[in-house]
């Protein structure tokens, strides 16, 4: 059976796509699935540093597509998990040095060898975005509880629907429970009502994210981090496991039950 092809996207930059890819991928690999992560943010690659694999890069995504190397040569194995690897983006090339057809073909090829192909999408809705979503059967849209991020997420959801991506789910990142309580941040319920997409999970605003990025060790390795736990639950839900949403960063989901992941 072919593996799943999941794109993590957002529209707006800096909302947590790369962090999400690293943590979902690492969790699924810890569950013994064969996972490959692809950084499609050509010119602004970052997944390598978030995964702590930056000093092993020889070849990249564009090299695979142009036939400069076999794809195995560009795949960098994770330091801890042998069933997890990453294909880095090219750092000194143009976004349009690959096409949607080439990207799709690569994803399909990889999905015959891996259980999960997880794609880190660049910000924006131009060619890089189109390439990143070309082969995907599932999209994870990341937003923060801010007006500009939500608006861009809505736009991206429209484009994903138009591109006939089968499954679209939402991650709300950087939720500040204290501000929500004070009424100074849109709540999870507010955001879901606005975007009407099934919720994969909520990640709290957390210093742990910065610390783990500094170290180059994905947060899900840290058993004590709440944000890490949120990423682990989301990976499990993505994998079809039914994990109640209440276990995450926010207690009161009440009326939101009908959106619960299934």
């Amino acid at each position: 059976m072919a593996g799943r092809i999941v794109v993590v996207t957002s529209g707006k930059g800096g909302v947590g796509k790369t962090t999400t890819v690293a943590n979902l991928g690492t969790t699924l690999a810890k569950k013994k699935y064969n996972v490959v992560l692809i950084d499609t943010d050509i010119g602004l690659r970052n997944l390598d540093v978030v995964m702590g694999l930056e000093n092993r890069i020889v070849y990249n995504l564009v090299d695979i597509i142009e036939g400069n190397c076999r794809k195995e040569q560009a795949m960098i194995r994770d330091r801890k998990l042998s069933n997890l690897c990453m294909i880095p983006a090219a750092q000194t090339r143009e976004k349009n040095s690959i096409t949607e057809e080439q990207m799709k073909a690569l994803c399909v090829e990889l999905s015959s060898e891996f259980d999960y192909v997880i794609i880190d999408c660049p910000a924006g809705i131009e060619q890089g975005f189109k390439n990143a979503i070309a082969g995907a059967d599932t999209a994870v849209v990341v937003t923060t509880p801010e007006v500009s991020a939500i608006r861009d997420a809505d736009r991206v959801i429209g484009l994903l629907e138009a591109a006939l991506v089968k499954k679209i789910n939402l991650i709300i990142n950087r939720l500040n429970a204290r501000m929500v309580k004070k009424g100074d941040m849109m709540s999870t319920e507010d955001i879901i009502a606005l975007l009407s997409v099934p919720l994969l999970g909520v990640v709290p605003e957390s210093e742990d994210v910065v610390v783990s990025t500094n170290r180059g060790v994905p947060l899900v390795h840290d058993r004590s981090s709440k944000a890490g736990a949120a990423f682990r639950s989301m990976a499990a839900r993505l994998n079809g496991e039914s994990i109640p949403l209440d276990g995450d960063s926010q207690g009161l989901f009440g009326r939101m039950k009908r959106f619960i992941w299934n």
Binding site: I150, G183, M186
Partner: protein, 90 residues
């Protein structure tokens, strides 16, 4: 400081303000009605109504509003006078 501003405007917490603004923005983004089109809709409404009544042209407002599970076009028109033979005025 923010608290003072809030009391002056009586706006409620900023989260709710954001929610209401987003409802509006997303609806416009989704239906993709540009301000030009809204202006054209408004002018057509004025034109049609003017066959039956005298209206205050500058007072006409046309807005799209999001209800709980519907979208409404709400127009507010100030009527000065209704024509006596309005039914035949076509």
């Amino acid at each position: 400081m923010l608290g003072i501003l809030r009391r002056i405007w009586g706006d409620g917490a900023s989260g709710q303000v954001a929610r209401k603004r987003m409802q509006f923005v997303l609806m416009h983004d989704r239906i993709d009605i540009t301000p030009d089109v809204m202006e054209a809709v408004k002018n057509d409404i004025i034109q049609v109504l003017s066959r039956y009544m005298e209206i205050e042209g500058g007072s006409v407002k046309v807005d799209l509003e999001q209800g709980k599970d519907f979208m409404a076009l709400i127009s507010n028109v100030q009527v000065k006078r209704v024509f006596r033979n309005s039914k035949n005025s076509d």
